[in-house]
């Protein structure tokens, strides 16, 4: 059996190495290789080569395929001194990677040569523990979790849809959640609005939501807006800066206002709506070339043809399903991973336990996001849906 030194020398002769000068050239050129830092977390935390991803040596084989699905992808592996990376490069070759090199001299030599390094931002121990199940997912990881902590999501409504959406977004560590709701907690809400509880009856929903969410996760900054979205306050609320908006409103006027606002501000809108046993869900992302709500339904129904929401009723768990899916879409948008529902309307029928999809197309004749928009300022439609007095 060979000794460690003998094995290292043998493997070194079997793989390709580059020195730090050559590595820097490769990283600056077109077709930049994937730079993989295989050191331990404490080493990585003290500094890295800019642009590197971190996969500790012990996880290299299990995680590399998510980071580099294409086996012809050029890869530079480095550690501290250039020894562990010999073993790492050999492992990658055995997994079928065709263009792997090990950085001779490693990070120590890179730094000694006066080349750029950067300090990775990292999560502290408490956050690392809280979000550990996210950190284990390659598509999230530490970088993704920090993106979530930096993300700002505005929720319209702390009701049926807003409750599960806000709970999961807060639990996931979305850094700032805005909650727009001008209602107070009523006994008839508690069959589905799981943000609130019996002890909160009569409290403002936005405040009750804030208490629940901050108890769940103190990392989250909750901004309550104890008001109803109108043409008057829309710009002020949006000016607070949001990456994603989750629409869980209970009426058409708010839904059209927030659609138009999100188109004009280029903010993706995660739309969900529910009635009895059925839900509709999609993402409106006109900045990414997708359709908006008015491409789907150019105008709201007139009062006499819209069913009253309060009369219609809803299965308590239905908003739990649809609102959770909204949270999932919002998290994907914050992380920049996966395929969003943009361009697809997902329909859920709880009675049949059936999901189906229809295609949504961008309408060139859309009055807001079309080629010749006819609506260029906020429209306050007459309220007719939730049993409130009419307002224009």
């Amino acid at each position: 059996m060979p000794s460690y030194r003998e094995l290292l020398a043998q493997l070194r002769s079997e793989i390709e190495e580059v020195d730090v000068v050559r590595a820097r050239e490769l990283l600056a050129a077109d077709g930049r290789p994937l730079l993989v830092d295989i050191r331990e977390l404490d080493e990585w935390s003290e500094g890295r080569i800019p642009g590197a991803i971190h996969i500790p040596r012990g996880n290299l084989e299990s995680r590399i395929e998510a980071a580099a699905p294409d086996k012809s992808q050029p890869i530079v592996v480095y550690c501290a001194q250039g020894n562990r990376s010999v073993f790492g490069a050999k492992s990658l070759e055995e997994l079928g990677y065709e263009n792997v090199v090990s950085l001779a001299g490693g990070y120590v030599d890179w730094k000694r040569s006066g080349f750029d390094t950067e300090l990775p931002r990292s999560l502290d121990g408490a956050k690392r523990q809280r979000y550990s199940r996210h950190l284990l997912i390659p598509e999230v990881g530490e970088e993704g979790q920090m993106k979530l902590l930096d993300s700002r999501v505005l929720l319209l409504g702390a009701g049926g849809l807003g409750s599960p959406a806000a709970l999961y977004l807060a639990a996931a560590g979305v850094g700032r959640l805005g909650i727009v709701d001008d209602d107070k907690v009523d006994a008839s809400n508690l069959q589905r609005q799981v943000l609130h509880s019996t002890s909160r009856l009569g409290e403002w929903k936005a405040e009750s939501a804030k208490r629940t969410l901050q108890e769940l996760n103190p990392d989250v900054d909750v901004v309550p807006y104890r008001e109803r979205l109108t043409s008057e306050n829309a710009e002020r609320i949006l000016a607070d800066g949001w990456d994603v908006i989750v629409d869980g409103a209970d009426n058409f006027p708010t839904r059209y206002l927030i659609n138009d606002a999100s188109v004009w501000h280029g903010i993706p809108l995660v739309h969900g709506s529910i009635y009895r046993f059925e839900g509709q869900l999609t993402v409106f992302d006109t900045k990414a070339g997708g359709p908006c709500y008015r491409c789907l339904f150019p105008q709201p129904p007139p009062p006499e043809l819209a069913p009253s929401c309060a009369e219609g009723g809803v299965l308590g768990v239905l908003p739990g399903i649809v609102g959770s899916l909204q949270a999932s879409e919002a998290l994907k948008l914050c992380l920049g991973v996966g395929e969003s529902l943009s361009g697809r309307l997902l329909l859920f029928d709880a009675l049949a336990t059936e999901f189906s999809e229809v295609k949504l197309r961008k309408d060139p004749a859309c009055p807001v996001c079309g080629d010749n928009p006819t609506i260029t300022e906020y429209v306050d439609y007459v309220e007719f849906c939730s049993g409130r007095p009419a307002q224009v």
Binding site: G157, G159, G160, L161, G162, D247, G248, A249, D250, N251, F252, R255, G272, S273, I274, Y275, R276, F277, E278, Q280, L296, F297, P298, Q299, P300, P301, L305, A306, P307, C309, G312, V314, P319, L345, L347, S356, E357, V358, K359, L360, R361, D363, C385
Partner: protein
Amino acid sequence: MAVTVKIPTQLRAVTGGVSEASVEGTTVAEVLDGLFAQFGELRERISDEQGTLRRFVNVYLAGEDIRFLDGVATSVPDGAELTILPAVAGG
């Protein structure tokens, strides 16, 4: 030439609770007329006086919005499925 039409919950008040109807027709317009013959009150919920589809109701043929096909003139193959979908506000 029978076509299956799926009726959403919101409109079932005018179909006596029926959620799916089998209707004869070779175009969307013919199918809708056949549907209105079965459920008279449905007509004014879905189309206006001119017979145009209302702007808060969409009709999908096999998952595709007929507005982006040939509208109500879109031909409908035998055994196809039409879905009527109104805007829903509830949250």
